[in-house]
């Protein structure tokens, strides 16, 4: 998959005027007699989003949609540094989205749909969440044969400590230096309890593999290369793991971070109204149904959050800016590297 994507990106890069930021995918959704084009910049892959775009176009048959995918860092750079022209920016990197909004790069948007959001699902009238996803662990049942699947991080630490040989070089997690999501998960994880650092040390002693992409990580679990993948976005896991297969999704009971996938309308958007329309569509009943059934993402649901006591939603507040701070980032990554890479 990856090489094809890169090829497409290179072709796109060669044909269209050079973008300063790196695009992973770009897909055009045309409309007959299109009166305008909605330009979306997103971290979510096209496959996941296609049913949503198609659903939107059913309601707005005169609108064409251009859907551009990039990594969360690149998405951030595109707006922050390059002032790229997009009508809607969608990202799982809550911290980077917060920085964009805080530093004045987001336009205000109000509508009945956003008014209906629960208070933890939006920031000001500029940042809006449309999906809430748990950050989970994927375990290979075969690898855990004879052992009980860990229910808490304490369990995991103990299991890892007690069975070093089983797990040596068979633990996978995001590389926070490369993956924006990975960085977010690691930093938020570190906030929740001290167990993070102990877990990091324990993992670090077992030569963990670091990944920049979810797909690769999950694939390696499926192929047996990994015994467990730590801090994976639950939706991806559910999408890629075949039911009844070897890999199982584990939501740790001490706490399971919940990520909010957010959208914002850039201040310099050419058609902010179109961006707002798409956002409202995502939050509508039709949109939520498509999100849940076709995109495989959990839509915003306060009840579900309340029902899962172990679920810890990541707060959409300026606290997210702390780990965006370069000093803080450097400090954390140093510590993290020290724990995980050079034990």
């Amino acid at each position: 998959m990856r090489p094809i994507i890169t090829a497409v990106a290179l072709i796109c890069a060669s044909i269209w005027p050079a973008q300063a930021f790196e695009i992973e995918e770009e897909h055009q959704f045309p409309a007959p007699n299109a009166s305008a084009e909605l330009r979306i910049l997103s971290t979510t892959d096209t496959i996941t989003f296609t049913p949503l775009i198609e659903g939107f176009q059913k309601n707005h048959p005169d609108l064409a949609v251009r859907y551009t995918v990039a990594s969360s860092q690149e998405v951030f750079r595109a707006i922050y540094d390059d002032s790229a022209q997009f009508d809607l920016v969608i990202s799982s990197a809550m911290d980077l989205q917060m920085k964009l909004a805080n530093d004045g790069f987001a336009a205000s948007h109000s509508s009945d749909a956003v008014e209906a959001l629960p208070v933890w699902a939006f920031w000001r009238d500029q940042l809006f969440a449309f999906a809430q996803e748990p950050v989970v662990m994927i375990a290979s049942q075969a690898a855990f044969k004879g052992l009980t699947l860990p229910r808490t991080r304490q369990d995991l630490i103990r299991i890892l400590r007690d069975n070093p040989e089983r797990f040596r070089a068979r633990i996978g997690t995001y590389d926070p230096q490369q993956s924006g999501a990975g960085y977010l998960f690691a930093t938020q994880d570190s906030r929740q309890s001290d167990t993070f650092w102990r877990l990091a040390e324990v993992m670090g002693a077992l030569s963990p593999r670091l990944y920049a992409s979810t797909g690769a990580m999950i694939g390696d679990v499926q192929s047996g290369k990994l015994a467990l993948a730590y801090n994976v976005l639950g939706s991806y896991a559910t999408a890629r793991l075949p039911a009844g297969g070897d890999g199982v999704v584990v939501e740790l009971e001490d706490f399971t971070l919940t990520l909010l996938r957010t959208g914002l309308i850039p201040r310099n958007a050419t058609r902010p109204d179109l961006g707002g329309a798409f956002l409202d569509f995502l939050l509508s009943d039709e949109g939520r149904r498509l999100i849940r059934d076709k995109a495989g993402l959990p839509p915003i649901d306060e009840a579900a959050l309340a029902a899962g006591q172990h679920l810890r939603p990541i707060r959409l507040d300026p606290g997210l800016l702390v780990f965006v701070d370069p000093l803080k980032r450097r400090r954390f990554l140093n510590e993290w590297s020290a724990a995980l890479i050079h034990p």
């Binding site: 004045g104 507040d317 300026p318 606290g319 800016l321 702390v322 701070d325 000093l327 803080k328």
Partner: protein, 459 residues
């Protein structure tokens, strides 16, 4: 506006109370706004300060330099009141090492050991900045570290706006209540005035007692003046009455002597010239006496018509009394008084003395101008809501003059120069009729003489 106010204490009072209420309401509004503003700002400042302090407290001096560790909670807590944008800047030894470098410096000259707050425009908005300075020991030298955390204040503005709305509603409500209360207050304050006016107004015309009863302190000077005035008036009236009585007595007694002596002299002489002189004397005495009487009568009538002392009067008995009193005078000249009254009593509402005075004048008039052996008819009739007293005589009539002319003061008919009279008699009758909403008509009578009709409404 001045005229509008000048003519009503009530309006003045209400207006002034309303103005006071309006001023207070506006003051209330602004006070609440200011207090709210201050309170919210203080609260947000405290949190901002706490965030700044949280960062400052984490500063450490290390070999490489100053170690900075921004606690997550420092920024997270800033969302506790509102979703405002957050900016920060950390300056070590004069150099901005992280944050937003264009965040403005704190004002000079203030100690920054505890957070200093100031407002400033920043980029596309306005922010509130908290600044704190710490000295951190790095390799035995003290490095100043400035920590600034800033936040937009839209949340605060929203809270203050909503409080301001509530304050405005409060102010309006307060004003409305004050308006109602001021109307009530004005009524209640003015009540003693109304009461006083009512009690004095209800008095009869003869009532010259001082005003008593409890009065509020502010009205006491007025009531005292009023009572002073009443007693002066009463004294003046008493003096006048006494004077009149004295004057009457002192004028009339010598006049009586003159008349008696003249009559004596007349009996004692047969000399035609002397007799003529004495006749003239007696006539002169009668003239002055009659004039004086009528003048006094007229004055009394004028006074009384302004202040009638009304009561229920039976006109029947009044007519009969006047007829009886006038009988001897009529009889002297063989004039017959023929009185006709109905069988039942004829009651009206009026001043007894005024009506009796009018009737006496009418009858005296008739007697004066009727020839000897004449007939005077006094009739009392009731007809369509009016009681009529009709005095007819067989005298000289009006000789061409009209009733209007004759009722003018001091106006006498053309045909009465030889009869003593002051000319006020009919004026009195006309004034009494007017005072009772009645009518007085005077006309020649068929067959000679005059017919006077005093018509009074039955009530």
């Amino acid at each position: 506006m001045k005229t509008y106010l000048a003519h009503s204490i009530r309006r003045r009072l209400v207006l002034q109370l309303l103005i006071v209420a309006a001023v207070l309401a506006v003051l209330l509004y602004f006070s609440i706004r200011t207090v709210a503003d201050d309170a919210v700002e203080t609260t947000q400042d405290s949190i901002l300060g706490a965030a700044t302090m949280a960062i400052a407290d984490q500063l450490r001096g290390a070999d490489e330099g100053v170690e900075i560790d921004i606690p997550y909670s420092a920024f997270s807590m800033l969302s506790s009141i509102s979703q405002d944008r957050v900016f920060y800047r950390i300056v070590v030894g004069g150099e901005t090492i992280t944050g937003y470098p264009d965040l403005p410096d704190p004002p000079q000259g203030t100690s920054l050991l505890s957070p200093v707050y100031f407002s400033s425009p920043f980029r596309d908005t306005d922010v509130r900045i908290a600044a704190v300075e710490r000295a951190v020991l790095v390799e035995r030298s003290s490095v100043p570290v400035l920590v600034m955390v800033a936040q937009t204040r839209q949340g605060q503005a929203a809270i203050v706006a909503s409080m301001a709305n509530r304050a405005a509603a409060l102010g309006l409500g307060f004003f409305a209540v004050a308006a109602i209360l001021s109307l009530l207050t004005a009524s209640s304050v003015l009540k003693p005035l109304h009461r006083l006016a009512g009690s004095v107004g209800r008095r009869g015309p003869q009532d010259l007692r001082p005003v008593t009863g409890s009065t509020p302190a502010e009205l006491v000077p007025f009531v005292l003046s009023l009572n002073g005035f009443i007693s002066r008036l009463r004294a003046a009236l008493t003096r006048t009455e006494t004077f009149i009585a004295e004057a009457a007595h002192h004028i009339r007694t010598p006049l009586s002597t003159v008349r008696a002596q003249a009559e004596i002299a007349l009996r004692q002489t047969d000399d035609a010239e002397t007799r003529a002189t004495l006749h003239k004397m007696i006539r002169a005495v009668e003239d002055s006496a009659r004039s004086a009487s009528q003048l006094l009568d007229h004055a009394t009538v004028v006074y009384r018509t302004d202040q009638r002392d009304d009561a229920r009067i039976d006109l029947r008995t009044l007519v009969q009394d006047v007829a009886r009193m006038s009988d001897p005078t009529a009889d002297l000249r063989d004039i017959t008084l023929d009185v006709t009254v109905p069988d039942i009593a004829v009651e009206i509402q009026g001043d007894r003395l005024l009506i009796e005075s009018a009737l006496r004048n009418l009858v005296d008039n008739s007697i004066k101008y009727t020839l000897a052996d004449g007939l005077i008819g006094i009739a009392l009739t009731v007809e369509s809501g009016r009681a009529d007293i009709i005095v007819t005589d067989t005298g000289r009539g009006l000789s061409g003059a009209t009733a209007k002319e004759l009722t003018e003061r001091f106006r006498r008919g053309a045909n009465v120069a030889d009869v003593v009279g002051s000319g006020l008699g009919l004026t009195i009758v006309a004034e009494v009729a007017a005072a009772h909403d009645g009518a007085f008509t005077l006309a020649d009578r068929k067959g000679g003489g005059a017919c006077a009709r005093l018509s009074l409404p039955l009530r």
